[in-house]
Amino acid sequence: MATLNIMVLVALAYVTLLFAVAFAADRAAARGRARWLRSPLVYTLSLSIYCTAWTYYGAVGFAARSGLEYVTIYLGPTLVVIGWWWTLRKMVRVGRSQRITSIADLISSRFGKSNALAVFVTLVALLGTTPYIALQLQSLTLSVVAFAEADPTREVAVNRQSTAFWVAAGMALFAILFGTRNLDANERHHGIVMAIALEAVVKLVALLAVGIFVVWGLSGGVSETLARIDRSAIAEFEVPGSRWVGLTLLSAAAFLCLPRMFQVMVVENEDERHLRTAAWAFPAYMMLMSLFVVPIAVVGLDLSPEGANPDLFVLTLPLMGGQEGLAILSFLGGFSSATSMVIVAAIAVSTMVSNHVVMPVWLWLTGGSAVMSGDVRLVAMRARRISIAITLFLGYLYFRLSGGGAALASIGLISFVGVAQFLPPLIGGLFWRGANRKGALAGLSVGFALWLYCLFLPSFGPSFLMPVSVLEQGAFGLSWLRPQALFGPAVLDPVIHAFLWSISLNTLIFIVVSIFSFPQPVERLQGAQFVNVFDHSGTTGGWTGGLAQSEDLLIMTQRIMGAQEAQALFAAAAREQGIGGYLPEPTPDFLVTLERALAGSVGAATAHAMISQIVGGASVSVQDLMAVADETAQIMEYSSQLEAKTQEQERTARQLRQVNEKLTQISLQKDAFLSQISHELRTPMTSIRAFSEILRDTGELTAEEESKYASIIHDEAIRLTRLLDDLLDLSVLENAQIVLNPEHGQLGGLIDRALMGAGLSEASIRVRRRPEDEAISLYTDLDRLAQVFINVMSNARKYCDAPNPELRIRVLREADHVAVDFIDNGSGIPAGEQGTIFEKFARVSETRAGGAGLGLAICREIMARLGGSITYVPGQEGAAFRVLAPMALPGQATAAQ
């Protein structure tokens, strides 16, 4: 029998299946045709990452040692979930309306988008999660070893460390592959959620199967099993009241505060209605998970040899009974519990680390300006990937250093107490408007310090991190400072003792400091938003725009969200304001929308800091303060309206000024053009007249001279014709009198043709293209489109002032349009002139000689006739023009087929 080998093979096949499921779910979600991915059942199953390997294997061990006490770990979450109307509903609503990315983000966002708070929460979460990951690695390794020991054919001992290492590496790969696909942490990780849901089913089925085997297979029926429990060492219900109540409260608190639970419960939540299903289905799931725990423990104690590890009864009982298939299923259950927890925890913690630690540091290192340098998107993505790898590596390191001893077994509850410190700021922040940042920071610090002192440091055993003298006599020899018996004799067990003291002092200090200190305006604003999330319409306000430079904002946003998404966002906002192009007015509304969008990628605090760099400091408007104060003073109302009106008028005035400026400019241009055109017309006219007079009046001209003068007259006449052609072209286009000749053609060929027509050679300008993007067939007036391309290309040749001129042609395919961007690396067009370049007679600068300034005006008219547009795209490396053309000419598409 080669159980170990079969087990390894099955495990590998299972991992492959998980990868395939995650991949398929991601694909299906990308195609937008996966309604079942968003079912409430999947959401409920994904909550099951609460049941880790610690509960899968450990619950039985727990029961074998102290009877029914294990059930408290499930009772707390049950109460929280059936009470969803109180807390979970509010958390999910706040999480969605504020685009929260993690629990650190929630707390920091509530308390004035404070990054200090976010960093603090992140560190506690990291400290609490690392040992927990180590615990999962230990469970997995122990289960592999149990298999190996039951296998008589094994030749080599299992190397625990390398097993743990490869498992950790595999999980890191999975988390990075499916957890960091998109930067916006608010977007759902369908692949991961689906894989977790599958694992949830596997672990439930496995545990139930083992339970059924134990009750009916080994023990001989229900009544026989109950009798066996009565005869066992845990027949009496002897749980101390303090532990029964304390552990239930602790598990309830941890359920709300664990970073990984927050990730699946709030961040990955697709629809608030899913909570309704979870309200009954998740308690039922936990009930089934704990149903057979006591029978398995009792039968295990009866049948196993003295000194067997009760933590592994779930695995060893089927092995003893010779049920290898069942044992492998049971192993897969434990494997599922461990992997799903580790993957989600790593993603949750890495999001926090990258958003609250790496990004602020990076911003600070790059001179504190998001506009200046680098691709933020890449940095954030890389930070998240590296954080995942580091989190898992830290878990592995912890596992190695602690040697997998008894210290690890108790770390589950210790970790719970650590994250439970988030509870006062979380609940206080959601329900009490008076809660403020100073209170939250003070409370968290005290709670965290007590947790370290009373529980975390002593957990490594005496004299490892904490001297025995401190443990027994208290710090500085003060007996009331003994870590496990603060302020009096030790009557409670250490976990409950630490939980009680840390959480109550945390809460007390949080409340007292909040009452006696004064919050900043942003905190009060966010407080009102969070507490009254069901009443408020949800505008944060807080920005008085006007000074902001839309172009700078666009550049920054492109770096974070990517060019296409950012341009789409800006163009949509501009359309909403009734402005064309990509640069909307920086109204307060737009700035709030933008901040929310950025928060989805980099967290609230960073997004807020980035925008305030550009806008120049946040200020809270009178109207916002009104909402906070909730007072009905008429005067304030009136003045706020006045202020709003003033702002509105200022904006209108600015727009009017802009229009006026444009009109004046156009009028000036027209005058300039008229004098130009008369000059242009007169110069050839003069020479034509002069030379024709010479030809007429001078008798003796050599044939050579004659032909020279005639060709001068001819050339000048051609120049005149061209000028007149342009003018005629424009007037025909403007009066919509042209007839289009639609033809079928390829975009790539068209660009080739235009390049040749524009006379672009390697010597004059280097052209960068991606021919694979250009394989798009068009049905339009190809000659006219080529004319537009030629015009834009020759502009780049003429005006690009870079030492090594370069023209990048980028093709983006949209639904039924194709966008062709022509981007050169010159200095671009100054912001003041971007508005007028498409006007007739406009020329970028008077100093540079060129045509009559009709080219772009003609282009604009042509594109309008073709059903597309040509726009200037600000914020690129140089001058950038986007030609947007429909793939089929509107109104003629049907005729073509």
Binding site: V80, G83, E238, R273, S537
Partner: protein, 99 residues
């Protein structure tokens, strides 16, 4: 804060939904109470002492276990019944999104 604006009487359906929300809020309180009951059945080890009294008066693991699982099933069923009679949360989201 804004109770002055609320009407005293509401339609029957709205009234039902509000009472269901009350039930949803109270269910965890009831659950917590029921989960505490087994503590009352314990032999009071602290005052009587760890002796024969334990065997005589204490409740066994089997009884407590059966009781807990019955309460658990009841709570899940009640949560399910109540949840589906509550106003749909999504409606509020949509209203908030627009307003």
């Amino acid at each position: 804060m804004t109770d002055k604006a609320r009407p005293v009487f509401v339609a029957r359906r709205t009234y039902r939904q509000r009472r269901m929300a009350d039930a949803a809020r109270l269910l965890p309180v009831l659950g917590a109470g029921l989960f505490l009951v087994p503590l009352l059945w314990r032999s009071d080890g602290a005052s009587v002492g760890e002796g024969d009294a334990v065997a005589a008066s204490g409740a066994g693991t089997v009884e407590v276990m059966l009781y807990l699982f019955l309460v658990w099933i009841f709570l899940a069923a009640a949560a399910g019944l109540i949840s589906y009679r509550l106003p749909a949360p999504q409606d509020e989201t949509r209203r908030d999104g627009q307003g």
